[in-house]
Symmetry: C2
Subunit: 135 residues, 2 copies
């Protein structure tokens, strides 16, 4: 059911400064940047072959990315795995005893169907699921 690593999310304090590092110093192309009001973050997308790097800047102390940075500093925040049918995957994982942070998928501001698993079930790795084919 899990098909690919869709992206890697990196929590950063200032996405413009980080874009300089990843784009200008490391030479990774940057596709776009957008602000999500829902999760109070600014996100830059740096697509690489097969997998995108997302730089995530919290715009509010209540944002999950802000709490992550307060606790652990900037760094890799989560990985997103692409699935064919997100509701089927959630039900399958739940039946196997994997704890879910979201019992059902929700729509992100840019229209992706997503849900997070509880990292306590997956060796401390925060896993986002994303449905690869939009409904």
């Amino acid at each position: 059911m899990i098909k690919k690593v869709e992206h890697i999310g990196v929590a950063v304090a200032d996405v413009e400064k980080s874009a300089h590092i990843f784009r200008d110093l490391l030479g990774i192309p940057m596709e776009r940047m957008y602000e999500s009001e829902a999760i109070k973050t600014k996100i830059a997308f740096l697509p690489l072959e097969g997998c995108t790097i997302e730089l995530i800047q919290p715009l509010d102390p209540s944002s999950p990315a802000a709490k992550f940075i307060q606790k652990r500093g900037e760094g890799i925040h989560h990985i997103c795995l692409g699935v064919d049918d997100i509701e089927a995957s959630l039900r399958e994982f739940e039946a196997k005893g994997v704890e879910l942070l979201n019992k059902t998928a929700r729509k992100s501001q840019d229209g992706r169907l997503i849900a997070f698993l509880n990292p306590k079930s997956t060796n401390g790795v925060l896993i986002e699921l994303e449905q690869l084919h939009k409904e």
Copy 2:
């Protein structure tokens, strides 16, 4: 110069238990497992489209993965980015002021040419470079 995300390294306490989670519960195929004497770790490879997940278990308290787990608990340890010419990339990044943990590439036990960048230069993200085409 950076072409793709080659793999994501996850530090875990017990690779057999984690293989159960990622393979049996999440259904990600597992390709192989091997022990590296050089870095005192046991590594399981779970290839997905475009990018592999590596589960890394320290076999000795002096292993970098052991220190990571002691400090932060299990979780995502590093990302590996594939490049065409690793020495050219190291010289280019160094000239731009990116700090390197390895000034020159070294050969991993399984024959890959690799080097690590200093996460202080890259927003707390530990980046491994790997030459995609073996010499």
